[in-house]
């Protein structure tokens, strides 16, 4: 991609212009079956193996609404402090694309299930910013096109395309913000924090795993600039499918710089969709939207209106989990960590694993130490999120229990974790198989201590002479001899006792 785009520096852009953003987030619900048929939503199946007449749009097929999908939509709406429609309909959004089996998407138009809400997000420095929510509506996902033969994987230059309809009909909730104004230079940060907070909320509700890397959550960043001090919105660009938190921030930043460059030289912004490029954080022009595409929306005649009973909505409201932001603030106090550390824990995706590990009996600091240390490193190295590691919070708690009981020392504990991650079994099984118990056989230890003293007479003399700190060298020798399986504190005691010195 060798498109050069004129940019001005970020600071310069903000000197003259005020950014206004709109964020549209699509969340794939984690329902067992699709939105309008009984097909599985499991990821990773053989292409087109999870399809039926309905999600393939075969002639004569009809949709039936997934009740769990509606329930999830209402939960999301409630958690976003939205009003829940007493009566709403699905609508058909008509346009042709080969990965859309019916050539219309069953969506919602002017009657969304949830509307008029907000989400409070916390920025790095603790400032809370309120993002107003316009609406959240239900719709279905499209299939997936793979363009083959071109250099870029895009349709341009491809010799043919492959279509996989397994994704077609997977329930989506589209959450649209009202124009986000007043964020100023922090707009990109707000965008990122909003998507991050929304993700936490979705996960807390248990309605989706909201994995951006798996496309379960996708974000479009709409952005416009207006001269500082003015109120009228400028022309916006729509950057599509920005699929990581970092990218959301970068895309907003890039567009601010690009718009400013165009506007400051007297140019006009073209209303268009733009593609985001992960490699360099840039965007390039996609489809021009001058004569805005006409989707010919009309109420879906194959479905009856959705009219959630009020008692049900209230029941769902009562069952909502604690808001993630409030929860983080509570945990921060309970764990005694600072805002910055909590942010790191959040960014690492470690909150839930740590909470679960504590619930399984581990002390808070130990749980944090393992998930943010050894396990975070492993997750990084293997490119997996923490909660996808092949170790459970219960297993981590078991390791901390073994350490607390003196059965393992820190070094051995790390080896146990390593074993569990390598698929060697539970912590106890790894301990057994690898023979990782701390050597507590006094006879064996005493022999090792005697050998170490005999091999290091000079050091022994120093200790006898009162230089107790020299015992460290002998402890090291014993640990080496026992391949790390001794309890170092006990070894030191034995050495001092042998040499007749009080510790």
């Amino acid at each position: 991609m060798t498109v050069t785009t004129d940019l001005v520096s970020y600071d310069e852009a903000l000197e003259s212009y005020d950014p206004v953003m709109g964020l549209e987030v699509h969340v794939e619900l984690g329902t067992r079956t699709k939105m309008f048929c009984g097909c599985s939503t499991e990821l990773g199946a053989e292409p087109n193996s999870q399809t039926c007449p309905t999600c393939l749009g075969l002639p004569g097929s009809l949709p039936v609404v997934n009740a769990t999908g509606v329930e999830s939509a209402i939960k999301i709406g409630l958690a976003l402090h939205c009003e829940i429609a007493e009566w709403c309909r699905f609508a058909r959004k008509n346009y042709f694309y080969p990965d859309m089996p019916k050539n219309f998407q069953t969506s919602q138009y002017d009657e969304p299930i949830a509307f008029d809400g907000y989400l409070d997000v916390q920025l790095e420095d603790g400032e809370v910013f309120r993002v107003e929510i316009e609406r959240a509506h239900m719709e279905e996902d499209t299939g997936k096109s793979t363009h083959v033969g071109g250099a870029t994987g895009r349709i341009h230059g491809a010799s043919h395309s492959l279509l996989d309809y397994n994704r077609a009909g997977i329930p989506l909730i589209e959450i649209v913000t009202k124009p986000i104004e007043g964020a100023g230079e922090r707009a990109p940060e707000v965008a990122r924090a909003y998507v991050a907070e929304l993700r936490e909320l979705i996960k807390a509700l248990g309605v989706s795993e909201a994995r951006m890397d798996k496309g379960q959550m996708r974000c479009d960043v709409n952005l416009s600039l207006r001269p500082n001090g003015t109120t009228e919105f400028g022309t916006r660009s729509e950057t599509k499918n920005v699929n990581s938190l970092r990218s959301v921030e970068r895309a907003a930043r890039f567009e601010i710089q690009r718009h400013a460059a165009v506007l400051s030289t007297g140019g006009t912004i073209v209303q268009e969709t733009r593609h985001f490029h992960e490699e360099d954080g840039s965007t390039t022009s996609g489809r021009i939207k001058d004569n805005a595409e006409d989707y010919r929306y009309f109420p879906e005649p194959d479905l009856v209106p959705v009219a959630p009973p009020r008692e049900w909505v209230e029941e769902l409201r009562t069952g909502l989990p604690e808001q993630p932001l409030a929860r983080r603030n509570r945990l921060r106090e309970e764990w005694g960590v600072g805002a910055h550390d909590m942010q790191s824990i959040l960014n690492a995706g470690a909150i839930d694993p740590i909470v679960a590990t504590i619930e399984a009996g581990a002390p808070a600091d130990q749980a944090r130490k393992w998930w943010m240390g050894e396990l975070a490193r492993h997750a990084n190295e293997t490119g997996r999120p923490l909660d996808a590691l092949p170790i459970t919070p219960e297993q981590v708690a078991r390791v901390t229990a073994l350490v607390a009981a003196g059965d393992l020392n820190d070094k051995l504990a790390r080896q146990v974790i390593e074993g569990v991650l390598a698929g060697e079994g539970t912590p106890d099984e790894v301990v057994d198989k690898r023979g990782l118990k701390v050597v507590s056989d006094e006879g064996a230890l005493t022999t090792a201590v005697e050998e170490a003293i005999a091999a290091n007479p000079g050091i022994a003399d120093k200790i006898r002479g009162g230089k107790v700190q020299a015992a460290g060298a002998l402890v090291g020798a014993v640990m080496k001899a026992t391949r790390g399986q001794a309890d170092a504190a006990r070894v030191k005691e034995l050495i001092l006792a042998q040499l007749g010195v009080e510790g």
Binding site: G57, P59, G60, L62, P98, P101, N103, S161, L163
Partner: protein, 503 residues
């Protein structure tokens, strides 16, 4: 008695009689099927009722019924009775073309709910009948596979869109047939062929597997030569279907019981002022007036009704039906099934879709897609689709007010008798007028029947009497229909169809 004579007698039996004779052992299902297949062999070259005949499948089904009886199993009320299935219901063992080139040879991977129910009832499906392409038309001339002749006069139309089904009944190729009615496609063919056709209440018969024309109007229903036969078929195919969200979740109205106990004594029968006037053939009005007089003789009270919005029905219909069809037919894009034109390895998917739709759809289908696409476009939606929906509401309300005063409404089914093939092909408006009296019931979603009420004196062609009942009161159609039928047969000395030429 020769085989030929025996067959001649079998094919003139009613469905109820056939079922009785099979159950009693007087006839075998195989004999019955063979008699009808022989009839088709003799006359269908002239009539062209069928698009596809399934000899082997039908005989196998018939044999299964005979074996069932031989094993002493109880047979259902239609076991072994042959049926002609409109080529709009999906079948796994025969092609489903909907009268269109775009689906030529397409074999559905699933049976429609109606097909499934017919098979479960041991009905013998002989084949698939001709129809206007995608059920768009009133003459069956819009079939991509050539027109069907009216058995009363092969140079005339058998009605449409279900002309194949009505012609199969009127030419004694089957005692039962299935139709679908979006604006009159069951009732109008019944009227012009001297047969009985019923459009059940919208939602009474599942639409699952019925290739959609206009989802909010389409309704499958029974076609037969007698009111009782229609009721027996109605009962077999009706009922709630979880695969069709718009299907009614309530017991099927007692249609068979009503058909066996015909009576109008003490009933209030409405006659709508707007269902006569300019464009109505004199002989049609004459037979209709005689029918009203007959109803009076039979003990009904006649009430004149004023329903001014009914005159807007045709216009509203020709906005709603094309709008929905423009969306329903978008799926025919050459990507997954059906015709594919121009895929030479160089053309884009978009071009292939365009070339396929150009080649695969007939003129009337294209006309309606274009009309509907226009009516739904932004800026026109309110004026067209929106206004049409308002008219629909008005018509529904006027029906409600009418049914506050009367039990049923009667009218001519069509303004004229069957017209010559080719007469109206270049005048869509003249063609559309055939559905003037039938359309209001589709817009309101209530139940309506057409049954023969004599021959128009000027052309000796059948005239249909339409009976309309409130939604979910389908049984009233049969109660009134059976009484009228019995009185007419008594007056004529035989069923009307006996006056049809022998072919």
């Amino acid at each position: 008695m020769s085989d030929h004579e025996k067959n001649q007698r079998i094919i003139r039996l009613t469905a109820a009689e056939i079922a009785g004779k099979i159950a009693s052992g007087e006839l075998t299902a195989v004999e019955v099927t063979e008699a009808h297949l022989a009839r088709t062999g003799a006359v269908d070259e002239k009539v062209h009722a069928y698009l596809h005949l399934d000899r082997e499948g039908a005989l196998a089904q018939a044999r299964a019924v005979d074996e069932k009886r031989a094993r002493g199993e109880k047979l259902g009320p239609l076991a072994g009775v042959p049926l002609a299935l409109k080529d709009i219901f999906t079948t796994t063992d025969m092609p489903t073309t909907v009268g269109s080139k775009i689906l030529e040879g397409w074999i559905a991977p699933y049976d429609s709910t109606v097909t499934r129910k017919l098979k479960a009832a041991d009905v013998v499906i002989l084949g698939k009948t001709n129809m206007d392409e995608f059920a768009m038309g009133s003459s069956t001339e819009n079939s991509a596979y050539g027109p069907t002749g009216n058995p009363w006069d092969l140079t005339r139309i058998p009605g449409g869109s279900g002309g194949g089904s009505s012609a199969a009944l009127a030419s004694f190729q089957a005692p039962l047939a299935m139709g679908t009615d979006t604006g009159g496609s069951i009732r109008q063919p019944a009227a012009v062929t001297g047969t009985v056709g019923v459009k059940p209440t919208y939602g009474g018969v599942s639409r699952y597997g019925m290739v959609a024309f206009s989802s909010s109007l389409d309704q499958g229903g029974p076609c037969a030569r007698t009111v009782l036969d229609a009721a027996l078929l109605h009962e077999a195919i009706a009922g709630h279907d979880p695969l069709d969200s718009t299907s009614i979740d309530a017991p099927v109205p007692p249609v068979v019981e009503a058909a066996r106990n015909g009576s109008v004594a003490g009933m209030r029968v409405g006659v709508v002022k707007q269902f006569r006037g300019e464009g109505y053939q004199a002989g049609v009005l004459q037979r209709f007036d005689e029918s009203v007089a007959l109803l009076k003789e039979l003990g009904a009270e006649i009430v004149e009704l004023d329903c001014p919005s009914f005159t807007l029905g045709l216009s509203a219909y020709y906005l709603i039906a094309p709008s929905e069809c423009s969306s329903n037919l978008a799926r025919f894009d050459a990507m997954r099934y059906g015709l594919r034109v121009g895929d030479d390895g160089t053309r884009s998917a978009e071009d292939v879709t365009a070339l396929t739709r150009e080649a695969g759809f007939g003129a009337e289908v294209k006309r309606r897609i274009i009309l509907g696409t226009y009516a739904l476009s932004s800026g026109y939606y309110d004026a067209y689709y929106g206004s049409a929906q308002k008219v629909r509401t008005l018509i529904t309300r006027e029906f409600q007010q009418a049914f506050d005063q009367v039990d049923v409404i009667v009218s001519p089914t069509t303004p004229t008798t069957a017209f010559p093939i080719g007469e109206r092909v270049d005048d869509p408006m003249a063609m559309y007028l055939m559905d003037l009296c039938t359309i209001p019931s589709n817009l309101a979603g209530n139940a309506a029947m057409s049954l023969p009420c004599g021959l128009a004196p000027e052309d000796n062609l059948p005239v249909g009497l339409q009976i309309i009942a409130p939604a979910t009161k389908d049984d009233r159609l049969y109660k009134v229909g059976a009484a009228v039928e019995a009185a007419f047969v008594e007056r004529w000395g035989h069923p009307l169809l006996e006056e049809a030429p022998s072919l």
